[in-house]
């Protein structure tokens, strides 16, 4: 419940404050968002499985975001930033789909 409220509060804050993303961060923000979404869906699934762990969630959230950012940064330095970020998005997307499938099975038994 707190988590949902925090998410909504964050969205509202983002809409109200309407900050501009620094140019240096622009390539990383979308990837970081996708990585965080992956962690969130993993957390929801773990919650439904009854194996949710606060610490694990926090660490996986942060590490997901950091690793995704580092990968994109490395890709940018190597000149394959576009391809690597596509790869990261694909991998995270697959994971999100898997987690959502598990959540769906939990919620609807189907």
């Amino acid at each position: 419940m707190i988590a949902v409220l925090a998410l909504i509060a964050g969205v509202v804050l983002g809409v109200v404050l309407d900050p501009t993303v620094p140019v240096a961060l622009q390539p990383y923000l979308p990837i970081a968002v996708v990585a965080a979404l992956d962690a969130v869906f993993g957390g929801i699934r773990a919650k439904l499985d009854g194996i949710f762990d606060d610490k694990q969630f926090v660490i996986s959230f942060i590490s997901n975001v950091l690793v995704a950012g580092v990968i994109v940064y490395l890709g940018d330095q190597l000149g394959v930033g576009g391809q690597l970020s596509t790869g990261v998005v694909v991998v995270l997307g697959v994971r999100i789909f898997g987690n959502v499938a598990a959540i769906r099975r939990h919620l609807f038994r189907a």
Binding site: A6, G10, T20, P30, I51, S60, G81, N99
Partner: protein
């Protein structure tokens, strides 16, 4: 953060024991009680591995839905919180004791201690708020400038080079079109000039050929009394030699007759015949040209005036600023002559 460091620092010595566990979830689930004393470090140590497991397990998961779902759930949460909180304190260093449970807090342990979930919960709330914030910002960012601001640097470079190539092509097109426009303009101008010139020449030739009316300064020359056709012809020749450009002659009756290169004069009873038409005295010549020169030519010694006077006629001339030569001559088609070019 501090929790994380403490955890890993403690976790390292237990690596050999933990190494076997992270492989799969099943061994840990099978022997939670046996491992209870030592693996209080396991959950934290395993957390990254466990997270990875959670993700990687997904593809394998669908087949054993029932067993896989139930297996980790039962053994894992139940024994750990108890084992952790009790065994931790003695095994761990003293200062860590209060912090350790915080980090290891599990949802099932929440009812036990209100303080523990609040720290982790605050962390989770912060992270999720950050996520929501980032999502909103990114949405806004992408929607405000969907094309360029969100594009990567190499994409931008490619777009830029595309645009430059296109600009180059369009520039070439512009130059080409301007060139053809210039050509067409000059062609039109040339045609205009040629038309103008041709029209001017046609006017000149029309005046010479007597097919166009003309006006300009000149003389009115009146012949009175008996005048022979030869005298008129002499006068016409003399006036032409003096630069007359257009002439017409009219008699006491009958229409005016344009005098051109092929005009002829014949004596007829009571008058003369000009180009087949008969006119009678007095005659009037209307001449366009330099009046002074023509008058001098008429009055020259032994000239027209003298010879007409000798025959008993009179010639008077008056300079006129605007002589109108309105009589026209039908253009005659050439029977034999053809233009060379």
């Amino acid at each position: 953060m501090t929790d994380e460091h403490r955890e890993t620092g403690v976790g390292w010595p237990d690596e050999p024991g933990a190494a076997a566990a992270p492989e799969t979830v099943t061994p840990r689930a099978a022997s939670p009680d046996a491992a209870a004393p030592s693996p209080e470090e396991l959950p934290p140590e395993e957390s990254p591995a466990g997270e990875r497991d959670a993700g990687e397990r997904v593809p394998q998961r669908p087949e054993p839905v029932a067993s896989g779902g139930s297996r980790p759930r039962g053994p894992r949460p139940a024994p750990e919180p108890d084992g952790l909180s009790e065994v931790d304190a003695p095994a761990e260093a003293d200062p860590d004791a209060p912090a350790e449970p915080d980090a290891a807090a599990e949802p099932e342990a929440a009812p036990e201690d209100r303080r523990r979930p609040s720290a982790a919960g605050v962390m989770i709330g912060l992270l999720l708020a950050l996520l929501g914030f980032a999502i909103a910002v990114q949405f806004k960012n992408v929607s405000t400038d969907p094309t360029l601001a969100a594009a990567r640097q190499e994409d931008l470079v490619r777009i830029l080079s595309d645009l430059e190539a296109r600009e180059e092509r369009l520039r070439a097109d512009i130059a080409e079109l301007e060139e053809s426009q210039r050509q067409l303009n000059s062609g039109a101008q040339g045609r205009q000039a040629a038309l103008e010139e041709a029209r001017r020449r046609a006017d000149d030739l029309g005046i010479l050929a007597g097919t166009l009316p003309a006006r300009g300064p000149g003389l009115h020359v009146h012949f009175g009394g008996p005048v022979k056709a030869r005298a008129i012809l002499d006068a016409v020749q003399e006036l032409r030699g003096a630069g007359a450009e257009a002439m017409q002659i009219s008699g006491g009756d009958g229409p005016a007759i344009r005098i051109v290169a092929s005009s002829y004069f014949l004596d007829a009873d009571g008058g003369i015949t000009v180009d087949g038409r008969r006119i009678t005295s007095p005659y009037t010549l209307r001449v366009i040209g330099d009046s002074e020169t023509m008058r001098t030519a008429l009055h020259i010694a032994g000239g027209v005036v003298e010879s007409v006077a000798k025959d008993g006629g009179t010639v008077t001339d008056e300079p006129v600023t605007l002589v109108e030569v309105t009589a026209l001559r039908e253009p005659s088609a050439m029977q034999f002559a053809r233009p060379v070019s």
